[in-house]
Protein backbone atom coordinates (compact mmCIF):
# COMPACT_ATOMS: atom_id res chain seq x y z
CA UNK A 1 0.00 0.00 0.00
CA UNK A 2 1.10 3.51 -0.73
CA UNK A 3 1.41 5.38 2.54
CA UNK A 4 0.98 8.67 0.73
CA UNK A 5 -2.51 7.81 -0.47
CA UNK A 6 -3.86 5.64 2.35
CA UNK A 7 -4.01 7.67 5.52
CA UNK A 8 -3.26 5.90 8.78
CA UNK A 9 -6.34 4.99 10.83
CA UNK A 10 -4.79 6.78 13.78
CA UNK A 11 -4.67 10.45 12.74
CA UNK A 12 -1.63 11.24 14.87
CA UNK A 13 0.39 8.66 12.90
CA UNK A 14 -0.27 10.52 9.66
CA UNK A 15 2.14 13.37 10.29
CA UNK A 16 5.67 13.70 11.55
CA UNK A 17 7.19 16.05 14.08
CA UNK A 18 10.83 15.52 13.14
CA UNK A 19 12.19 17.80 15.89
CA UNK A 20 11.66 17.21 19.62
CA UNK A 21 11.71 20.99 20.19
CA UNK A 22 8.74 21.41 17.80
CA UNK A 23 10.74 23.62 15.46
CA UNK A 24 8.92 21.81 12.65
CA UNK A 25 5.13 21.56 12.62
CA UNK A 26 3.39 19.41 10.00
CA UNK A 27 0.72 21.27 8.03
CA UNK A 28 -1.68 18.35 8.47
CA UNK A 29 -2.22 19.38 12.09
CA UNK A 30 -4.07 22.42 10.78
CA UNK A 31 -6.23 20.73 8.15
CA UNK A 32 -7.12 17.22 9.30
CA UNK A 33 -10.71 16.83 10.55
CA UNK A 34 -9.74 13.74 12.58
CA UNK A 35 -7.04 15.69 14.37
CA UNK A 36 -9.63 18.37 15.08
CA UNK A 37 -12.01 15.79 16.60
CA UNK A 38 -9.22 14.39 18.75
CA UNK A 39 -8.35 17.89 19.98
CA UNK A 40 -11.85 18.34 21.34
CA UNK A 41 -11.28 15.35 23.63
CA UNK A 42 -7.60 15.65 24.45
CA UNK A 43 -7.05 19.43 24.45
CA UNK A 44 -10.28 21.30 25.21
CA UNK A 45 -11.70 18.53 27.42
CA UNK A 46 -8.26 17.51 28.56
CA UNK A 47 -6.44 18.42 31.79
CA UNK A 48 -6.53 22.16 31.12
CA UNK A 49 -8.51 25.21 32.22
CA UNK A 50 -10.56 27.03 29.58
CA UNK A 51 -11.57 30.65 30.00
CA UNK A 52 -15.37 30.89 30.27
CA UNK A 53 -16.46 34.38 31.27
CA UNK A 54 -16.02 37.22 33.77
CA UNK A 55 -17.87 37.26 37.06
CA UNK A 56 -18.97 40.84 36.39
CA UNK A 57 -21.06 39.50 33.50
CA UNK A 58 -23.05 37.46 36.01
CA UNK A 59 -23.68 39.82 38.92
CA UNK A 60 -27.03 38.34 40.02
CA UNK A 61 -28.34 34.83 40.70
CA UNK A 62 -29.90 33.54 37.50
CA UNK A 63 -27.59 35.54 35.21
CA UNK A 64 -26.19 33.33 32.49
CA UNK A 65 -24.08 33.44 29.35
CA UNK A 66 -23.70 30.73 26.76
CA UNK A 67 -20.05 30.31 25.79
CA UNK A 68 -18.08 27.48 24.25
CA UNK A 69 -15.23 25.20 25.20
CA UNK A 70 -13.74 24.22 21.88
CA UNK A 71 -16.96 23.58 19.96
CA UNK A 72 -19.04 22.43 22.96
CA UNK A 73 -21.68 24.97 23.98
CA UNK A 74 -21.49 25.68 27.70
CA UNK A 75 -23.84 27.57 30.00
CA UNK A 76 -22.08 29.56 32.67
CA UNK A 77 -24.36 31.04 35.30
CA UNK A 78 -24.66 32.22 38.88
CA UNK A 79 -26.89 30.03 41.00
CA UNK A 80 -29.02 30.86 44.04
CA UNK A 81 -26.12 29.83 46.28
CA UNK A 82 -24.13 32.73 44.81
CA UNK A 83 -21.61 30.43 43.14
CA UNK A 84 -20.78 30.23 39.45
CA UNK A 85 -21.63 26.94 37.75
CA UNK A 86 -20.86 25.74 34.24
CA UNK A 87 -22.49 22.90 32.34
CA UNK A 88 -22.83 21.61 28.82
CA UNK A 89 -25.78 23.24 27.07
CA UNK A 90 -27.30 19.97 25.95
CA UNK A 91 -30.41 18.33 27.32
CA UNK A 92 -29.82 15.01 29.07
CA UNK A 93 -32.97 13.70 27.40
CA UNK A 94 -32.56 13.89 23.65
CA UNK A 95 -29.57 16.16 23.27
CA UNK A 96 -31.25 19.41 22.29
CA UNK A 97 -29.75 22.79 23.09
CA UNK A 98 -31.38 23.76 26.38
CA UNK A 99 -30.68 27.46 26.70
CA UNK A 100 -31.29 29.11 23.32
CA UNK A 101 -30.57 32.70 24.38
CA UNK A 102 -26.92 33.72 24.52
CA UNK A 103 -27.38 35.67 27.74
CA UNK A 104 -30.10 36.58 30.19
CA UNK A 105 -31.51 35.92 33.62
CA UNK A 106 -33.60 32.84 34.39
CA UNK A 107 -34.88 30.89 37.38
CA UNK A 108 -34.08 27.63 35.66
CA UNK A 109 -33.04 26.35 32.24
CA UNK A 110 -35.89 24.69 30.39
CA UNK A 111 -35.48 22.66 27.24
CA UNK A 112 -38.14 23.72 24.72
CA UNK A 113 -38.36 20.27 23.14
CA UNK A 114 -39.97 18.28 26.00
CA UNK A 115 -39.80 20.87 28.78
CA UNK A 116 -37.22 19.13 30.93
CA UNK A 117 -36.03 21.74 33.39
CA UNK A 118 -32.73 22.17 35.17
CA UNK A 119 -31.65 24.12 38.22
CA UNK A 120 -28.85 26.64 37.84
CA UNK A 121 -26.52 23.99 39.25
CA UNK A 122 -27.37 21.72 36.31
CA UNK A 123 -29.54 19.38 38.38
CA UNK A 124 -32.58 17.96 36.57
CA UNK A 125 -35.68 18.95 38.56
CA UNK A 126 -38.65 18.77 36.25
CA UNK A 127 -40.00 16.29 33.68
CA UNK A 128 -43.59 16.88 32.49
CA UNK A 129 -45.80 13.79 32.50
CA UNK A 130 -43.06 11.82 34.17
CA UNK A 131 -45.74 9.49 35.61
CA UNK A 132 -47.77 9.50 32.39
CA UNK A 133 -51.52 10.03 32.44
CA UNK A 134 -53.43 8.17 35.12
CA UNK A 135 -50.49 5.86 35.55
CA UNK A 136 -50.17 5.03 31.88
CA UNK A 137 -47.19 6.16 29.81
CA UNK A 138 -44.40 8.33 31.21
CA UNK A 139 -41.01 7.19 32.41
CA UNK A 140 -40.29 3.88 34.14
CA UNK A 141 -40.66 4.03 37.92
CA UNK A 142 -36.95 3.43 38.46
CA UNK A 143 -35.85 6.37 36.26
CA UNK A 144 -33.36 8.27 38.41
CA UNK A 145 -33.47 12.02 37.77
CA UNK A 146 -30.27 12.49 39.77
CA UNK A 147 -28.39 10.66 37.02
CA UNK A 148 -29.69 12.89 34.25
CA UNK A 149 -28.48 16.37 35.04
CA UNK A 150 -26.59 18.58 32.62
CA UNK A 151 -22.97 17.54 32.24
CA UNK A 152 -21.02 19.70 34.65
CA UNK A 153 -17.64 21.35 34.31
CA UNK A 154 -15.33 22.08 37.18
CA UNK A 155 -15.16 25.81 37.81
CA UNK A 156 -12.44 27.96 39.36
CA UNK A 157 -12.44 31.71 39.65
CA UNK A 158 -9.36 33.93 39.88
CA UNK A 159 -9.86 37.65 40.48
CA UNK A 160 -13.31 37.48 38.91
CA UNK A 161 -12.11 35.53 35.86
CA UNK A 162 -14.00 32.26 35.46
CA UNK A 163 -12.29 29.15 34.11
CA UNK A 164 -13.80 25.73 33.53
CA UNK A 165 -12.45 22.25 33.05
CA UNK A 166 -13.96 18.98 31.89
CA UNK A 167 -11.14 17.02 33.43
CA UNK A 168 -10.86 15.70 36.98
CA UNK A 169 -7.12 15.50 36.26
CA UNK A 170 -6.60 19.22 35.72
CA UNK A 171 -4.33 20.61 38.44
CA UNK A 172 -5.55 23.60 40.50
CA UNK A 173 -6.05 26.68 38.31
CA UNK A 174 -3.21 28.73 39.77
CA UNK A 175 -0.75 25.87 39.25
CA UNK A 176 -1.96 25.54 35.69
CA UNK A 177 -1.55 29.25 35.03
CA UNK A 178 1.77 29.53 36.89
CA UNK A 179 3.02 32.65 38.64
CA UNK A 180 3.55 35.07 35.70
CA UNK A 181 0.02 34.50 34.42
CA UNK A 182 -1.61 34.61 37.83
CA UNK A 183 0.21 37.92 38.24
CA UNK A 184 -0.99 39.18 34.87
CA UNK A 185 -4.62 38.33 35.66
CA UNK A 186 -4.28 40.02 39.05
CA UNK A 187 -2.75 43.04 37.30
CA UNK A 188 -5.58 43.41 34.78
CA UNK A 189 -8.31 42.69 37.33
CA UNK A 190 -6.86 44.54 40.30
CA UNK A 191 -10.13 46.47 40.68
CA UNK A 192 -13.72 45.81 39.62
CA UNK A 193 -14.06 45.60 35.84
CA UNK A 194 -17.05 46.66 33.80
CA UNK A 195 -17.84 45.16 30.39
CA UNK A 196 -17.86 47.71 27.56
CA UNK A 197 -19.04 45.32 24.87
CA UNK A 198 -18.26 42.35 22.69
CA UNK A 199 -16.66 41.84 19.32
CA UNK A 200 -16.85 38.68 17.25
CA UNK A 201 -14.75 37.57 14.33
CA UNK A 202 -15.07 34.46 12.16
CA UNK A 203 -11.80 33.33 10.69
CA UNK A 204 -11.71 30.69 7.98
CA UNK A 205 -8.62 28.91 9.12
CA UNK A 206 -7.51 26.49 11.81
CA UNK A 207 -7.67 27.76 15.39
CA UNK A 208 -4.02 26.82 16.02
CA UNK A 209 -2.86 29.21 13.33
CA UNK A 210 -4.30 31.86 15.63
CA UNK A 211 -2.75 30.48 18.82
CA UNK A 212 0.54 30.32 16.87
CA UNK A 213 0.07 33.93 15.87
CA UNK A 214 -0.42 34.87 19.52
CA UNK A 215 2.88 33.18 20.36
CA UNK A 216 4.88 34.74 17.55
CA UNK A 217 5.93 38.21 18.71
CA UNK A 218 8.13 38.39 15.63
CA UNK A 219 5.19 39.04 13.30
CA UNK A 220 3.92 42.02 15.26
CA UNK A 221 6.50 44.47 14.05
CA UNK A 222 6.46 43.13 10.48
CA UNK A 223 2.84 42.40 9.57
CA UNK A 224 1.12 45.03 11.69
CA UNK A 225 2.44 48.03 9.88
CA UNK A 226 0.21 50.46 11.73
CA UNK A 227 2.04 49.78 14.96
CA UNK A 228 5.42 50.11 13.30
CA UNK A 229 4.42 53.24 11.47
CA UNK A 230 3.03 54.93 14.54
CA UNK A 231 5.63 53.60 16.91
CA UNK A 232 3.36 51.50 19.11
CA UNK A 233 5.71 48.52 19.14
CA UNK A 234 8.77 48.07 17.00
CA UNK A 235 10.84 44.92 16.90
CA UNK A 236 13.90 46.93 17.85
CA UNK A 237 12.21 48.43 20.90
CA UNK A 238 12.05 47.11 24.43
CA UNK A 239 9.90 44.02 24.62
CA UNK A 240 9.91 40.28 25.03
CA UNK A 241 8.02 37.14 25.84
CA UNK A 242 7.34 35.64 29.26
CA UNK A 243 6.37 31.98 29.58
CA UNK A 244 5.08 29.64 32.26
CA UNK A 245 7.19 26.71 33.43
CA UNK A 246 5.93 24.47 30.61
CA UNK A 247 6.08 27.18 27.96
CA UNK A 248 2.44 26.57 27.01
CA UNK A 249 1.29 30.09 27.85
CA UNK A 250 2.95 33.19 26.48
CA UNK A 251 2.87 36.84 27.35
CA UNK A 252 4.21 39.05 24.61
CA UNK A 253 5.00 42.43 26.07
CA UNK A 254 6.36 45.79 25.03
CA UNK A 255 7.24 48.88 26.99
CA UNK A 256 7.64 51.48 24.29
CA UNK A 257 4.69 53.76 23.82
CA UNK A 258 3.84 55.68 20.72
CA UNK A 259 6.40 57.98 19.12
CA UNK A 260 6.13 61.40 20.75
CA UNK A 261 4.38 63.97 18.62
CA UNK A 262 6.82 66.00 16.57
CA UNK A 263 9.58 63.43 16.74
CA UNK A 264 10.90 62.27 13.39
CA UNK A 265 11.01 58.51 12.91
CA UNK A 266 14.48 57.05 12.92
CA UNK A 267 15.68 54.77 10.19
CA UNK A 268 15.85 51.27 11.60
CA UNK A 269 18.47 49.07 10.00
CA UNK A 270 16.81 45.85 11.17
CA UNK A 271 14.02 46.36 8.68
CA UNK A 272 16.48 46.20 5.76
CA UNK A 273 14.98 47.14 2.41
CA UNK A 274 11.37 46.32 3.34
CA UNK A 275 10.58 50.03 3.43
CA UNK A 276 8.96 49.59 6.81
CA UNK A 277 11.47 50.91 9.27
CA UNK A 278 11.44 54.62 8.63
CA UNK A 279 8.02 55.59 7.43
CA UNK A 280 6.96 59.12 8.13
CA UNK A 281 3.19 58.95 8.28
CA UNK A 282 1.28 60.94 10.83
CA UNK A 283 -2.22 60.73 12.16
CA UNK A 284 -4.30 63.87 11.98
CA UNK A 285 -5.80 62.89 15.31
CA UNK A 286 -3.13 61.02 17.31
CA UNK A 287 -5.03 61.32 20.61
CA UNK A 288 -6.16 57.71 20.27
CA UNK A 289 -2.56 56.50 20.48
CA UNK A 290 -1.84 58.01 23.90
CA UNK A 291 -1.27 55.62 26.73
CA UNK A 292 -2.53 56.76 30.09
CA UNK A 293 -0.39 54.78 32.48
CA UNK A 294 -2.62 52.83 34.83
CA UNK A 295 -0.43 50.08 36.28
CA UNK A 296 2.65 50.33 38.52
CA UNK A 297 4.87 48.94 35.72
CA UNK A 298 5.69 50.53 32.38
CA UNK A 299 4.21 47.82 30.13
CA UNK A 300 2.12 49.48 27.45
CA UNK A 301 1.32 46.36 25.44
CA UNK A 302 0.72 42.91 26.86
CA UNK A 303 -0.98 39.96 25.26
CA UNK A 304 -1.11 36.99 27.63
CA UNK A 305 -2.18 33.86 25.78
CA UNK A 306 -3.36 31.07 28.03
CA UNK A 307 -3.33 27.51 26.70
CA UNK A 308 -5.58 26.54 25.04
CA UNK A 309 -8.44 28.95 24.43
CA UNK A 310 -7.89 32.55 25.46
CA UNK A 311 -5.78 35.67 25.54
CA UNK A 312 -5.83 38.66 27.84
CA UNK A 313 -5.04 41.78 25.91
CA UNK A 314 -3.81 45.19 26.97
CA UNK A 315 -3.15 47.41 23.98
CA UNK A 316 -2.44 50.63 25.81
CA UNK A 317 -5.68 51.29 27.63
CA UNK A 318 -7.72 48.86 25.54
CA UNK A 319 -8.42 45.82 27.66
CA UNK A 320 -10.10 42.64 26.51
CA UNK A 321 -10.27 38.89 26.90
CA UNK A 322 -10.37 36.94 23.66
CA UNK A 323 -12.02 33.53 23.73
CA UNK A 324 -11.32 31.15 20.86
CA UNK A 325 -14.35 29.03 19.92
CA UNK A 326 -13.51 26.37 17.38
CA UNK A 327 -16.06 25.53 14.69
CA UNK A 328 -14.21 22.95 12.59
CA UNK A 329 -10.68 22.28 11.42
CA UNK A 330 -11.24 25.13 8.96
CA UNK A 331 -13.03 27.78 11.00
CA UNK A 332 -13.01 29.42 14.41
CA UNK A 333 -14.58 32.38 16.13
CA UNK A 334 -12.86 34.92 18.33
CA UNK A 335 -15.22 36.41 20.90
CA UNK A 336 -13.65 39.38 22.62
CA UNK A 337 -15.01 40.85 25.82
CA UNK A 338 -13.79 44.43 26.21
CA UNK A 339 -13.70 45.91 29.66
CA UNK A 340 -12.74 48.99 31.59
CA UNK A 341 -12.92 49.64 35.30
CA UNK A 342 -15.90 50.53 37.39
CA UNK A 343 -14.19 53.71 38.59
CA UNK A 344 -13.22 55.02 35.12
CA UNK A 345 -14.26 58.63 34.69
CA UNK A 346 -16.05 59.74 31.52
CA UNK A 347 -12.81 60.78 29.83
CA UNK A 348 -11.14 57.43 30.47
CA UNK A 349 -14.23 55.55 29.34
CA UNK A 350 -14.25 57.53 26.10
CA UNK A 351 -10.51 56.98 25.63
CA UNK A 352 -10.91 53.21 25.98
CA UNK A 353 -13.75 53.16 23.48
CA UNK A 354 -11.82 55.24 20.94
CA UNK A 355 -8.62 53.29 21.44
CA UNK A 356 -10.56 50.08 20.80
CA UNK A 357 -10.09 51.08 17.13
CA UNK A 358 -6.66 49.49 17.44
CA UNK A 359 -7.95 46.00 18.26
CA UNK A 360 -10.43 43.42 17.07
CA UNK A 361 -11.63 42.47 13.58
CA UNK A 362 -11.46 46.09 12.41
CA UNK A 363 -8.42 46.89 14.54
CA UNK A 364 -5.90 49.24 12.99
CA UNK A 365 -3.21 47.12 14.63
CA UNK A 366 -4.83 43.71 14.56
CA UNK A 367 -6.95 43.34 11.43
CA UNK A 368 -4.06 41.68 9.57
CA UNK A 369 -4.19 38.59 11.78
CA UNK A 370 -7.40 37.36 10.15
CA UNK A 371 -5.81 37.70 6.73
CA UNK A 372 -2.52 36.04 7.76
CA UNK A 373 -4.29 33.00 9.24
CA UNK A 374 -6.38 32.51 6.11
CA UNK A 375 -3.38 32.92 3.81
CA UNK A 376 -1.61 30.07 5.57
CA UNK A 377 -4.70 27.90 5.84
CA UNK A 378 -5.37 28.14 2.11
CA UNK A 379 -1.81 27.48 1.04
CA UNK A 380 -1.15 24.36 3.15
CA UNK A 381 -4.05 22.31 1.78
CA UNK A 382 -1.67 19.98 -0.05
CA UNK A 383 1.63 18.59 1.24
CA UNK A 384 0.24 17.97 4.70
CA UNK A 385 3.47 16.37 5.89
CA UNK A 386 5.50 19.39 4.91
CA UNK A 387 6.42 21.60 7.85
CA UNK A 388 6.25 25.09 9.24
CA UNK A 389 9.68 26.39 10.25
CA UNK A 390 9.89 27.76 13.79
CA UNK A 391 13.44 28.86 14.51
CA UNK A 392 13.36 32.57 15.35
CA UNK A 393 14.86 32.92 18.79
CA UNK A 394 16.72 29.64 18.32
CA UNK A 395 16.10 25.91 18.67
CA UNK A 396 16.06 23.76 21.78
CA UNK A 397 14.85 24.86 25.20
CA UNK A 398 11.74 27.01 25.47
CA UNK A 399 12.45 29.92 27.79
CA UNK A 400 11.61 33.57 28.36
CA UNK A 401 12.64 35.76 25.43
CA UNK A 402 14.51 39.05 25.89
CA UNK A 403 13.16 40.72 22.77
CA UNK A 404 10.37 40.42 20.24
CA UNK A 405 12.36 38.84 17.41
CA UNK A 406 11.29 35.35 18.39
CA UNK A 407 8.71 32.65 17.88
CA UNK A 408 10.01 30.37 20.63
CA UNK A 409 6.69 30.61 22.55
CA UNK A 410 5.01 28.90 19.59
CA UNK A 411 7.19 25.86 20.18
CA UNK A 412 6.15 25.89 23.83
CA UNK A 413 2.49 25.62 22.81
CA UNK A 414 3.24 22.68 20.52
CA UNK A 415 5.31 20.78 23.07
CA UNK A 416 2.35 20.78 25.49
CA UNK A 417 -0.07 20.13 22.63
CA UNK A 418 1.89 17.05 21.56
CA UNK A 419 2.08 15.77 25.13
CA UNK A 420 -1.71 16.03 25.57
CA UNK A 421 -2.47 14.62 22.15
CA UNK A 422 -0.10 11.68 22.65
CA UNK A 423 2.12 12.74 19.77
CA UNK A 424 5.78 11.83 19.84
CA UNK A 425 7.88 14.79 18.71
CA UNK A 426 11.41 13.99 17.61
CA UNK A 427 13.17 11.40 15.47
CA UNK A 428 11.03 8.31 15.03
CA UNK A 429 13.45 5.96 16.82
CA UNK A 430 14.29 8.29 19.69
Amino acid sequence: MDAATVPSADPIQRYSFPAADCSRIPYGMYRDADIYALEQERIFRGPVWNYLALECELPNPGDFRVVAVGDTPVIVNRARDGNVHAMVNRCAHRGAIVQRAIHGNVRKHVCCYHQWSYELTGKLTGIPFRRGVEGVGGLPADFDMAEHGLQKLRVEVLCGVIFGSFSPEACPLEDFLDAPFVAQIRRLFHKPPVVLGYQRQRVFGNWKLYTDNLRDPNHGGLLHMFQITFGIARLSGRGGATLDRDGKHNMSWAAQGARPEGETPQADAGYGDTGRGDMDIRLRDPSMLRYHKEYPDDLSLTVASIFPNCAFQQIGNTLAVRQIRTKSADEFEIVSTYFGYDDDDAAMRRHRLRKANLAGPAGLVSMEDGEAVELVHRAILRDLDEHSVVEFGGRGPVTDQPNLVTDVPMRGFWITYCRLMGIHAGPANA
Binding site: D285, L364, M367, E371
Partner: protein, 159 residues
Protein backbone atom coordinates in the same frame (compact mmCIF):
# COMPACT_ATOMS: atom_id res chain seq x y z
CA UNK B 1 -46.30 60.45 9.27
CA UNK B 2 -46.29 64.23 8.96
CA UNK B 3 -42.57 64.57 9.68
CA UNK B 4 -41.55 62.50 6.66
CA UNK B 5 -39.19 64.36 4.34
CA UNK B 6 -40.83 66.33 1.53
CA UNK B 7 -40.40 64.54 -1.79
CA UNK B 8 -37.68 66.85 -3.07
CA UNK B 9 -35.59 66.32 0.08
CA UNK B 10 -36.32 62.63 0.04
CA UNK B 11 -34.89 62.47 -3.48
CA UNK B 12 -31.77 64.38 -2.36
CA UNK B 13 -31.36 61.99 0.55
CA UNK B 14 -31.65 59.03 -1.78
CA UNK B 15 -28.97 60.54 -4.02
CA UNK B 16 -26.72 61.08 -0.99
CA UNK B 17 -26.95 57.43 -0.02
CA UNK B 18 -26.41 56.41 -3.64
CA UNK B 19 -23.25 58.49 -3.74
CA UNK B 20 -22.15 57.10 -0.36
CA UNK B 21 -22.45 53.52 -1.59
CA UNK B 22 -20.94 54.19 -5.00
CA UNK B 23 -17.86 55.98 -3.62
CA UNK B 24 -17.21 53.07 -1.26
CA UNK B 25 -17.74 50.49 -3.99
CA UNK B 26 -15.44 52.35 -6.39
CA UNK B 27 -12.75 52.59 -3.70
CA UNK B 28 -12.96 56.40 -3.75
CA UNK B 29 -12.65 56.46 0.00
CA UNK B 30 -11.15 59.95 0.22
CA UNK B 31 -14.15 61.36 -1.63
CA UNK B 32 -16.46 59.31 0.59
CA UNK B 33 -14.86 61.08 3.56
CA UNK B 34 -16.02 64.39 2.06
CA UNK B 35 -19.64 63.37 2.61
CA UNK B 36 -19.13 64.01 6.33
CA UNK B 37 -19.11 67.32 8.17
CA UNK B 38 -15.99 68.24 10.14
CA UNK B 39 -17.72 67.54 13.47
CA UNK B 40 -19.17 64.13 12.92
CA UNK B 41 -19.56 60.58 14.12
CA UNK B 42 -18.97 57.50 12.02
CA UNK B 43 -19.54 54.29 13.92
CA UNK B 44 -20.00 50.63 13.14
CA UNK B 45 -21.54 48.78 16.05
CA UNK B 46 -22.98 45.30 16.46
CA UNK B 47 -26.65 44.71 17.17
CA UNK B 48 -25.49 42.47 20.03
CA UNK B 49 -23.93 45.45 21.82
CA UNK B 50 -26.74 47.88 20.98
CA UNK B 51 -29.34 45.53 22.41
CA UNK B 52 -27.39 45.23 25.65
CA UNK B 53 -26.75 48.99 25.87
CA UNK B 54 -23.03 48.35 25.62
CA UNK B 55 -21.04 51.23 24.13
CA UNK B 56 -18.28 49.32 22.32
CA UNK B 57 -18.07 49.73 18.54
CA UNK B 58 -16.24 47.82 15.86
CA UNK B 59 -15.08 51.08 14.31
CA UNK B 60 -15.42 54.50 15.90
CA UNK B 61 -14.50 57.86 14.41
CA UNK B 62 -15.84 60.75 16.43
CA UNK B 63 -14.51 63.48 14.17
CA UNK B 64 -13.63 63.77 10.50
CA UNK B 65 -9.88 63.57 11.13
CA UNK B 66 -10.35 60.11 12.59
CA UNK B 67 -12.17 59.08 9.41
CA UNK B 68 -9.30 60.51 7.35
CA UNK B 69 -6.82 58.60 9.53
CA UNK B 70 -8.75 55.37 8.98
CA UNK B 71 -8.55 55.83 5.24
CA UNK B 72 -4.88 56.81 5.21
CA UNK B 73 -4.08 53.80 7.42
CA UNK B 74 -5.87 51.57 4.91
CA UNK B 75 -3.93 53.14 2.08
CA UNK B 76 -0.51 53.12 3.71
CA UNK B 77 -0.30 50.71 6.60
CA UNK B 78 -2.99 48.04 6.86
CA UNK B 79 -2.90 44.71 5.09
CA UNK B 80 -6.27 43.14 4.43
CA UNK B 81 -8.09 40.79 2.11
CA UNK B 82 -8.02 42.17 -1.43
CA UNK B 83 -11.65 42.61 -2.39
CA UNK B 84 -14.31 44.66 -4.13
CA UNK B 85 -17.33 45.87 -2.18
CA UNK B 86 -20.88 46.03 -3.48
CA UNK B 87 -23.35 47.89 -1.27
CA UNK B 88 -27.05 47.43 -1.92
CA UNK B 89 -29.02 49.98 0.07
CA UNK B 90 -32.75 49.56 0.50
CA UNK B 91 -35.42 52.26 0.55
CA UNK B 92 -34.63 55.17 2.83
CA UNK B 93 -36.91 56.35 5.56
CA UNK B 94 -36.21 60.05 6.00
CA UNK B 95 -37.75 62.28 8.61
CA UNK B 96 -37.32 65.86 9.78
CA UNK B 97 -35.77 65.80 13.23
CA UNK B 98 -34.74 68.52 15.66
CA UNK B 99 -31.04 68.47 14.83
CA UNK B 100 -31.43 67.80 11.11
CA UNK B 101 -32.81 65.17 8.82
CA UNK B 102 -32.79 61.64 10.06
CA UNK B 103 -32.48 58.78 7.64
CA UNK B 104 -32.37 55.06 8.06
CA UNK B 105 -32.03 52.27 5.54
CA UNK B 106 -31.16 48.59 5.43
CA UNK B 107 -28.05 47.53 3.53
CA UNK B 108 -26.46 44.39 2.19
CA UNK B 109 -22.76 44.39 1.54
CA UNK B 110 -21.29 41.80 -0.78
CA UNK B 111 -17.55 41.25 -1.07
CA UNK B 112 -15.88 39.74 -4.11
CA UNK B 113 -12.37 38.39 -4.40
CA UNK B 114 -9.93 39.04 -7.22
CA UNK B 115 -11.03 35.72 -8.70
CA UNK B 116 -14.65 36.79 -8.77
CA UNK B 117 -15.91 34.78 -5.84
CA UNK B 118 -18.64 36.65 -3.95
CA UNK B 119 -19.85 36.31 -0.40
CA UNK B 120 -22.48 38.16 1.58
CA UNK B 121 -20.21 40.02 3.96
CA UNK B 122 -22.56 42.05 6.10
CA UNK B 123 -26.16 43.12 6.53
CA UNK B 124 -27.56 45.73 8.84
CA UNK B 125 -29.02 49.19 8.94
CA UNK B 126 -27.81 52.76 8.63
CA UNK B 127 -29.00 55.34 11.12
CA UNK B 128 -27.92 58.76 9.89
CA UNK B 129 -28.28 62.37 10.88
CA UNK B 130 -27.85 64.64 7.88
CA UNK B 131 -27.76 68.42 7.56
CA UNK B 132 -27.57 70.84 4.67
CA UNK B 133 -24.19 72.50 4.22
CA UNK B 134 -23.63 74.88 1.31
CA UNK B 135 -26.58 73.47 -0.56
CA UNK B 136 -25.41 69.87 -0.12
CA UNK B 137 -26.56 67.19 2.27
CA UNK B 138 -23.77 65.98 4.54
CA UNK B 139 -23.55 63.37 7.30
CA UNK B 140 -23.22 64.62 10.86
CA UNK B 141 -23.69 61.11 12.10
CA UNK B 142 -23.65 57.75 10.39
CA UNK B 143 -24.22 54.88 12.75
CA UNK B 144 -24.08 51.48 11.10
CA UNK B 145 -25.75 48.80 13.19
CA UNK B 146 -24.59 45.46 11.85
CA UNK B 147 -26.68 42.32 12.19
CA UNK B 148 -23.63 40.40 11.00
CA UNK B 149 -21.85 40.99 14.26
CA UNK B 150 -19.57 38.00 13.72
CA UNK B 151 -17.29 39.77 11.25
CA UNK B 152 -16.19 37.48 8.44
CA UNK B 153 -12.38 37.40 8.37
CA UNK B 154 -11.86 41.10 9.10
CA UNK B 155 -13.38 44.53 8.64
CA UNK B 156 -11.08 46.94 6.84
CA UNK B 157 -13.07 49.08 4.43
CA UNK B 158 -15.97 51.17 5.76
CA UNK B 159 -19.57 50.00 5.46
Amino acid sequence: MSNLLPLELHMQMTLLFEEYARLLDEDRLEEWTDLFTEECLYEIVSRENVQQNLPLSLMLCDNKNMIRDRISALRQANIYNIHTDCHVIGPIRGTVGEAGYEASAAYSLFQSTQEGETRLFSVGRYHALVIERGGLLRFVRQRVIVDTGAILTLLATPI
